[in-house]
Amino acid sequence: MAVVKMRLYRGDSNGGAEKEYEVPLEEGMVVLDAIHFIQANYDGDLAVRWNCKAAKCGSCSAEINGMPKLTCKTRLDTLPLDKPVTVYPIKTFPIIKDLVTDVSWNYKVRKTIPPFTPAKDTKWVMYQEDVERGQEFRKCIECFLCQDVCHILRNHDKKNEFIGPRMLIKIAELEMHPLDTLDRKEFLRDQAGIGYCNITKCCTEVCPEHIHITDNAIIPLKERVADTYFDPLQWLLEKFKGSPKQ
């Protein structure tokens, strides 16, 4: 039987190193299968997160051969197997152990986003074309791969200033909800730090749900913020009109 060489990062906050394992290759096998094989047969204490094993829960993010991916969705036969497959924890968040990182920051900032706020007397009628934009963003499985790859968080560690692409689409989803009444533009500019994003689109490229993070969420949000805060005429108009949302 063919075998594949897997090189996994093993370690914790005190440091660590790659460890190599040989795993028998089966048809259709994904990286997470190989990790499970290693757990069951070599190192029972190998730490990894996973739940659905069907690309639906966003638990199993890692960097496979340097690329941020879901381990349950990455088939081994899509990788070059003449050399070892490396699996590392996502880099932007502090390591806990092996492939598991501390992603609690994401939950903290998410809580600061002003929640859905419908009007008191809402008639709950919405048409398919109105909900579709929001539905795209609500496909997000919170794998945080976009947060991992965004250079503002990854290389510049601006976690206090910038909430990252996942959280921006969360805001976009609320802002584009046909029945929401809140205005999050100030939040976007100040707490969310949307100005930091320079539209490199790296986030969109890694999104396993194929959400158009930059084109459909961040750019329209940037435009709204710019219109309000940098266009004095718009600003005045909105002040008098009481800022209706489209």
């Binding site: 069951a40 739940n51 659905c52 069907a54 639906k56 092996d98 809580k111 048409y127 909900v131 539905q135």
Partner: protein
């Protein structure tokens, strides 16, 4: 005993799926101090994987629908073994619970006139399942998660509860460990709501995740609560078959709801033989047995399944209504379902049985202990209809939150005690695997259990097979008492599995003993040696499991008596 941290709440909810979140939201709204504890990160519970939809008689598409028809369908789907009161409350309250999700921000697919869209599903008379493509569970859990984090509850993520503690007869605490550090934590609490989901990981071929190890059922059993109807394990008719890596992963019933056709290797639509009226949209127990029979009799597909074809609906429609199925097959199996059929075979999916609860309050037989969602029993009888779980989570999650908050409120000034001896025993049990110099690898024992459950207590059962299974479970219990693990307590899945395995062995034994006792076939429980319904004897009783003097006791108790006006609804045609 080593140092541990302590938190105090009125209500501890174990589990952050649909049931747990909805319970925690309700208990918080009632003013209780709530702690929500879950094994995984928030938002990753099983509910996130639900695909097809949530059943509620909104009557948006088929305007003749009403709660009575939903109730009727549910009782028939459950082969009359359902707790009638649960089925009634469920059918009556589900529409409000679904609308409430919309009020909390959910974006369901819409009808032309701007209402929540509904689709057909097996066993439902009318188009009843509110949905978002085939990712309804994700929509539901995000909505509840968003609502929950702004409701004032404390969330304890990646924290596993291993023991419940009592002050006399009453619940007084929950003990567990942080997955990350392995350190212990004690929750002092007046009430515990168990919303831990199912048991699928006791089987090899399953649609369930690592979390489904029956912890909640085992915790309740150990605390002295009754479990009912554990023999009723739902094998979903359509799990993926190929490649081996994805065997068991769910193919949503929505494929059949949207018009998918089942055929065998000879191209025959074999459901004609088994249920000519409802065909592919027959109930799950029937479809699962039909596929199983076709394959066993040599009419299976190349990898041992049946064909399921949706390509005739056209590529655009399929991609729009079943996007995640499209991607799932494209990416995992390299099959384009808009052009070719899928191969499917039954997969362990859901447990109808569970913790015995009072329909109105979700209270178990132990004071202070409540249960909701898949962990609770009774609602679905002998077979669950698709879509009725998500609605169950909402209806009884809310009721459990209410029930627990009320109980805690009545106990306001009552200081409950933690039994230090029990606490120390719990801690010692947890650290023991580190002390064993010899012993087996927990993964090996787990695999052996999974093989045994599939082989002995699967889709078709006989007395001999079940008895062999029970013997095997006894052997595995011994093996599981001597496990050895490597590494430290920091995020150590091997160590976690040691305790999970104990839970799985308890629920496996409960399933096996109930399956042996019930000498008839009903719903998901098919006895080859007793192929017929026995309404006189077994149609009148629930199976009951309890702990007595340290041993598992099996018995029956009479079904709650259905009132006359509801009986009429069940017996009437209701079309």
């Amino acid at each position: 005993m080593e140092k541990y941290e302590t938190h105090t709440h009125d209500v501890i909810v174990i589990g952050a799926g649909g049931a747990g979140l909805r319970a925690a939201i309700e208990a918080s709204a009632q003013g209780a101090s709530v702690g929500l504890v879950c094994k995984s990160l928030l938002g990753k519970a099983h509910t996130v994987m639900a695909e097809g939809g949530v059943a509620a008689a909104l009557a948006n598409v088929d305007t003749k629908d009403d709660w009575k028809t939903h109730f009727h369908d549910t009782m028939h789907g459950g082969k009359m073994l359902n707790n009638w009161r649960m089925a009634q409350l469920h059918a009556q309250e589900a529409p409000d619970r679904v609308k409430e999700l919309e009020h909390w921000g959910a974006l369901f697919d819409r009808t032309k006139d701007g209402k929540i869209m509904q689709r057909a599903f097996g066993g439902h008379t009318w188009k009843r399942l509110a949905h978002v493509g085939d990712r309804t569970g994700l929509e539901m859990i995000r909505t509840l998660q968003d609502r929950g984090i702004h409701s004032g509850m404390e969330v304890y993520m990646e924290c596993t509860i291993t023991h419940l503690l009592k002050d006399g007869e009453r619940i007084s605490g929950a003990f567990g460990y942080w997955r990350e550090s392995g350190r212990f934590v004690l929750f002092k609490t007046k009430t515990v709501i168990i919303a831990t989901g199912g048991i699928g990981k006791a089987y090899k071929v399953t649609s369930n995740s690592w979390e489904y190890t029956g912890d909640g059922q085992a915790l309740a059993y150990e605390a002295g609560a009754d479990l009912i109807d554990m023999e009723f394990v739902q094998f979903h008719p359509t799990g993926m078959v190929w490649p081996p890596s994805v065997r068991g992963i769910l193919v949503t019933e929505a494929v059949r709801g949207e018009g998918g056709l089942l055929t065998n290797r000879n191209g025959e639509r074999f459901m004609e033989k088994y249920d000519p009226e409802r065909m592919e949209l027959s109930t799950r127990d029937v479809v699962a047995r039909s596929i199983y029979t076709e394959v066993m009799e040599g009419r299976g597909s190349p990898h041992g399944g049946a064909y399921l074809d949706i390509s005739h609906r056209g590529a655009d429609y399929v991609k729009k209504k079943l996007p995640s199925m499209y991607h799932q097959f494209m990416e995992f199996a390299e099959i384009d379902i808009t052009k070719e059929p899928m191969e499917v075979f039954p997969t362990t999916h859901y447990i109808m049985g569970g913790i015995r609860v009072d329909a109105d309050t979700a209270g178990s037989t132990v004071p202070g202990l409540f249960a909701a969602g898949e962990a609770a029993g009774g609602m679905h009888g002998a077979n669950r209809l698709g879509g009725n779980s998500l609605s169950d989570l909402l209806v009884f999650g809310r009721r459990a939150g209410l029930g627990a908050a009320q109980y805690a409120n009545e106990l306001r000034d009552n200081a409950l005690k933690i039994d230090d001896v029990e606490l120390e025993k719990a801690a010692r049990e947890m650290t023991r695997p580190f002390e064993n110099a010899e012993g087996e690898n927990p993964y090996t024992v787990h695999q052996a259990l999974q093989e045994a459950m599939g082989a002995y207590i699967g889709v078709f059962r006989t007395r001999e097979k079940i008895s062999d299974g029970i013997e095997e479970i006894q052997v595995l219990k011994d093996r599981a008492s001597q496990l050895r693990i490597e590494g430290s307590r920091m995020f150590n899945p091997g160590w976690h599995l040691c305790k999970d395995l104990k839970s799985m062995l308890i629920v496996s034994e409960a399933i096996a003993r109930c399956a042996l006792q019930r000498e008839e076939s009903r719903g998901a429980h098919s006895r080859v040696d007793f192929p017929k319904y026995d309404d006189e004897k077994w149609g009148r009783v629930n199976s009951v499991i309890s702990k007595e003097n340290g041993n598992m006791k099996i018995g029956t108790s009479p079904l709650p008596q259905i009132p006359e006006e509801l009986r009429k609804i069940v017996e009437g045609g209701h079309k």
